[in-house]
């Protein structure tokens, strides 16, 4: 039998030294921003019942879930998404709290991807959910939080905003087959104009069909709203106006050329009902931040309420931060403290004093001073304090680590 004890499962990896520090730094930055804006942290279990992520309303395919069963044979999954557990939490334990709820999280999600494509199965996400509030101000609050988070961690981002209402409302004019609707949705999402034309041919030339045809091309700067106006009547006219207002307000946050509108933006998670948005980093193929309004989701957990939120990929932000500071050498202790025989306690006390002064300090675990010195030289520790009846400081020159 093959033995896998020396490798980690595909899609996972160990995080070392600088990577850990960098990831913690990003996590702290994000947490600080979220809590400063009044969001409170929650942690949900890594294991949840399958039913929380029912593909019928989550849009998460069962093939991406890591599944197992509990002692009663109920299906349990590794958390594949953070919004659904928080919706569950808000609808149950937090149902009596004053709304709106402002919650944030920093925790990993687990998804199984097709093999050998370089995708990770374990991704730390940070995000906020604003539950129990609808309307422009709530949308703006969450978007502004997203912008502040990205500005702090990866200022070169691009953000696009759209509205699930465009596709949702236009799709009502389509034949009822869910399969067909999914094909049209896929063609809009992938801006596959040709396939969309084929799907829609034979459905006549109603204003809705004409608008659907135009949908994937309606992206870009503010000019999009002018281009879209002829297609948007009735309910959609209102949607377009409110999206434009949001766009303008966001542009006022100093986003400038980093902001786009995309009316053909349909998120993969089917639960979005209002605004949807994503953010991208250059050279990072997939979106690093996704979010939107999901007013229908809490109903599945028995407590209908409007909600809006986003999640950002902490690992992608960490990679970007590490690339910006690629040449940094790994951090080493400033001082090695070696206690002679009988002076172990004195050495510990001396080390504690140095640490209190702000130095990074290792206490030697070697039996002799020579061994300790050889170690310090080999690892590039420039100073050794030898504690005996007195304290003697030895300094080493530039050494290759």
């Amino acid at each position: 039998m093959k033995n896998y004890s020396r490798i980690t499962p595909e899609g996972t990896r160990d995080y070392l030294f600088e990577e850990c520090r960098s990831r913690h730094r990003i996590e702290k930055k994000l947490s600080d921003i979220f809590s400063a804006r009044g969001f409170r942290e929650v942690m949900t279990p890594g294991l949840e019942y399958y039913d929380v992520f029912d593909p019928a309303f989550s849009g998460i395919g069962q093939e991406v879930l890591f599944k197992m069963s509990d002692r009663q044979g109920r299906i349990v999954v590794m958390r594949p998404d953070n919004t659904l557990p928080i919706a569950r939490l808000a609808a149950t334990r937090l149902q009596n709290l004053r709304k709106p709820l402002r919650l944030f999280y920093v925790q990993p999600i687990y998804r199984s991807h097709p093999g050998l494509a370089g995708r990770s199965s374990e991704d730390v996400q940070a995000g906020v959910e604003l539950l129990g509030a609808g309307g422009f101000r709530a949308d703006l609050e969450v978007l502004a939080t997203a912008v502040e988070a990205l500005n702090a961690c990866a200022p070169g981002f691009r953000m696009e905003i759209g509205h699930a209402g465009f596709f949702r409302s236009l799709a009502k004019s389509l034949p009822a087959s869910g399969d067909f609707r999914e094909r049209v949705r896929g063609a809009v999402e992938s801006k596959n104009y040709g396939a969309l034309d084929v799907c829609l041919s034979g459905l006549g030339d109603s204003p809705q069909i004409r608008a659907l045809r135009a949908l994937p091309r309606l992206y870009g700067g503010e000019e999009v709203f002018e281009k879209a106006a002829p297609f948007c009547t009735g309910e959609l006219e209102k949607t377009l106006r409110s999206l434009r207002r949001l766009y303008r307000t966001l542009a006022g946050l100093g986003l400038g050329g980093r902001l786009m509108a995309d009316l053909g933006l349909v998120q993969r998670n089917d639960y979005y009902t209002g605004i949807v948005f994503s953010a991208y980093l250059e050279g990072c193929g997939d979106a690093v931040l996704r979010g939107g309004r999901y007013d229908g989701l809490l109903e599945h957990f028995g407590e209908p309420m409007p909600a809006v939120g986003f999640g950002v990929d902490v690992d992608a932000l960490t990679r970007a931060a590490l690339e910006r500071r690629a040449a940094r050498t790994p951090s080493r202790a400033d001082v090695l403290v070696h206690g002679g025989d009988g002076y172990e306690l004195a050495a510990l006390k001396h080390a504690a004093e140095l640490i209190a002064k702000g130095l990074r300090c290792e206490t030697s675990v070697f039996p002799t001073e020579e061994d300790a010195a050889a170690y310090a030289r080999a690892c590039g520790i420039r100073r050794m304090d030898v504690v005996g009846s007195g304290i003697r400081t030895v300094r080493f020159g530039e050494a290759k680590a």
Binding site: E160, R183, K191, A195, G283, G285
Partner: protein, 219 residues
């Protein structure tokens, strides 16, 4: 900023892709004299062409290391992925078909069928759509051999003229769908380099339309 990087499928689609870029007015002299180089300047260095195998076009575009690519719909259907499929370029046109030995009825009876294919996902999706349980065996080379050797009842493969099928005593049972070369764009690249990509796409679209008068878009 680095030049816009376009991944081109080597082999069958390469010549037609290069001539499309030429007709669209882009200088392809480096691609015409490529030697063994894999990354070549395009349009006098304004863009870069990367030559790779079809599935790798999708991989490089999805990961954002190439901005756009030219790849067959057959590969897109088999491999899937997240990117914008912006243009049907109209060349490399053929179809996916289910084919079996002449004179046999693939769909009759209730015994489970075995199907050989170079495109196991395309085959699996097709039969799942028909709610048929079929054993699918992946074959790397000439798939026509599998039914001839008695390994499979039928094959799912790309068919252009049908000559290979005929010469080996096989016939098309059903056509799954048509395929052709597509221009794909990475999601992130479209946000960062929209003007360049749209300019390229509209020039390619015009050149492709000028070429094939009877071209028709396919899903």
């Amino acid at each position: 900023m680095r030049p816009l990087r376009i991944a081109l499928t080597k082999g069958r689609l390469e010549e037609k892709a290069v001539s499309l870029f030429e007709r669209a007015g882009y200088d392809c002299s480096a691609l015409r004299n490529k030697g063994r180089r894999l990354i070549l300047p395009l349009a006098g260095g304004g863009m870069e062409a990367v030559l790779c195998k079809a599935p790798d076009v999708i991989t490089y575009v999805e990961h954002g290391v190439c901005d756009a690519g030219v790849v067959g719909k057959d590969t897109i259907l088999e491999k899937g992925g997240t990117f914008y499929e912006m243009l049907d370029l109209g060349f490399g046109r053929c179809r996916f078909a289910l084919a079996g030995p002449k004179g046999t009825d693939f769909f009759s009876g209730y015994s489970a069928r075995t199907v050989a294919s170079k495109y196991p996902n395309v085959a699996a999706n097709y039969f799942a759509g028909k709610a048929m349980d079929v054993r699918i065996i992946k074959i790397e080379g000439s798939v026509e051999l599998a039914p001839l050797l008695g390994l499979a009842d039928a094959i799912v493969d790309l068919v252009e003229t049908g000559t290979t099928l005929r010469e080996n005593g096989l016939q098309v049972i059903e056509t799954l769908c048509g395929v052709s070369a597509r221009f794909i764009v990475g999601a992130s690249s479209l946000k960062f380099r929209r003007q360049e990509i749209e300019a390229l796409a509209s020039r390619l679209e015009r050149a492709a339309q000028a070429e094939g008068p009877e071209r028709k878009a396919q899903p």
